[in-house]
Subunit: 200 residues, 2 copies
DNA sequence: CGCGACGTTGATTTGCCTCAACGATTGTGG
DNA sequence: CCACAATCGTTGAGGCAAATCAACGTCGCG
């Protein structure tokens, strides 16, 4: 293993969850990454722009959200340390983004452009597998979310969120969790106040 | 190109959308497929079973759905000709399925077991790319669905469904579309009756 | 023909939203 | 270091979108 900074170790460990790289492959992979810092409330991506990078979070927290004509925001996803985040639709199709991404805290990222990713696929085909697994996991997550939205009331979706993403729940304000769950901040506040529903 | 039946041509054309195969690779791929027929109302997968195949639809229509303790069904997805369908969570993790899949019509399938798929990955690594693209597209679809569920009222989600999947809308009963949209059949009926909302 | 599945309609209820007001906390400029 | 504004969570009154429940007509099919 090379003597690399902590953030590079983090991304290599993330990759190592699914594929194993030689030293040379790891070195090439790291050479394709760009470091970036984002402050709290700063935008990594504005709706309308093209999103040509996928970002790995080494520190901080971000959120991706859609804003409709009435300024109502819907949170698509959060990303904290060890997560990947992008507007996948814009990134894959090279279209302009429908969503925005902003820092929830000051954050540090390692970014891969879509050109760099294509180069990576051709030089180290193993990465096809890595991103296949990444996409599979993302698909499973979203499908599970759809399923819960269809079948569970807001209170249980909130409980499940707390259980599944405790680290995120600690970092992001409640109103963003509400917009992730598809309810208003006021109603989430109401849910938190009432005694949890017990099954008799 | 080999002299193959129409259903094999169909799956080869589907694969050819994303990768190109030599005759030998195509032949090997086809050799891993199992044919299966499912009648209307027959189950391809029962919740609780393990789902160790992914199925390509060559004819007919199917639906995947979750059924909760109160017998309320939530439709996860439909699949008609030229679509792939499976319980992706069960298929990937080899866990027992939470959802069921049943025929909406008499249907014909070509199936790939997860063992056959692993073999395919090792013999023809190009398929890593193919399934990466398949998973990417599925992820984009589900994320778009989450976004619409969060940001649009039922009436617009129904209109968008009709526009996006006209072929499916023609084949499946309304109550299943309702359960896909997350509303009751009665309310969908109500939405259809009223004049479409015009923007003044 | 008769039965079950499907879509429809209407009355009533409910889960969640809207709007408005109010403390508590955070952050920021003077 | 304080004053003030901005942000956040909370509370409550009233309203709306969608659910529930029940009844009924139609149609395809055994």
């Amino acid at each position: 293993m090379y003597a690399v900074s902590k953030k590079f170790q983090l991304v290599l460990q993330n990759v190592a969850k699914h594929i194993s790289l030689t030293d040379g492959e790891a070195e090439f992979f790291l050479s394709q990454l760009q470091e970036k810092k984002i402050k709290k409330k700063e935008f990594l991506l504005h709706a309308g722009q093209s999103c040509n990078v996928i970002s790995f979070v080494t520190a901080g927290a971000l959120r991706a959200f859609y804003e409709d004509a009435d300024d109502k925001q819907s949170t698509i996803m959060f990303a904290i340390t060890d997560w990947w985040i992008t507007d996948i639709t814009s990134f894959l199709n090279r279209t302009s983004a429908l969503i925005s991404i902003e820092g929830v805290e000051d954050s540090e990222l390692l970014q891969l452009s879509n050109d760099a990713l294509e180069l990576l696929y051709s030089k180290v085909p193993k990465f096809e597998r890595f991103f296949r697994v990444l996409m599979q996991n993302s698909y499973v997550r979203e499908q599970t979310r759809v399923l819960q939205t269809l079948s569970l009331p807001a209170e249980q979706r909130y409980q499940n969120f707390l259980k599944k993403y405790p680290a995120i729940a600690k970092k992001v304000p409640q109103k963003h969790i509400a917009s992730y769950l598809g309810i208003t901040p006021e109603f989430l506040s109401f849910l938190r106040k009432k005694k949890p529903t017990r099954i008799s």
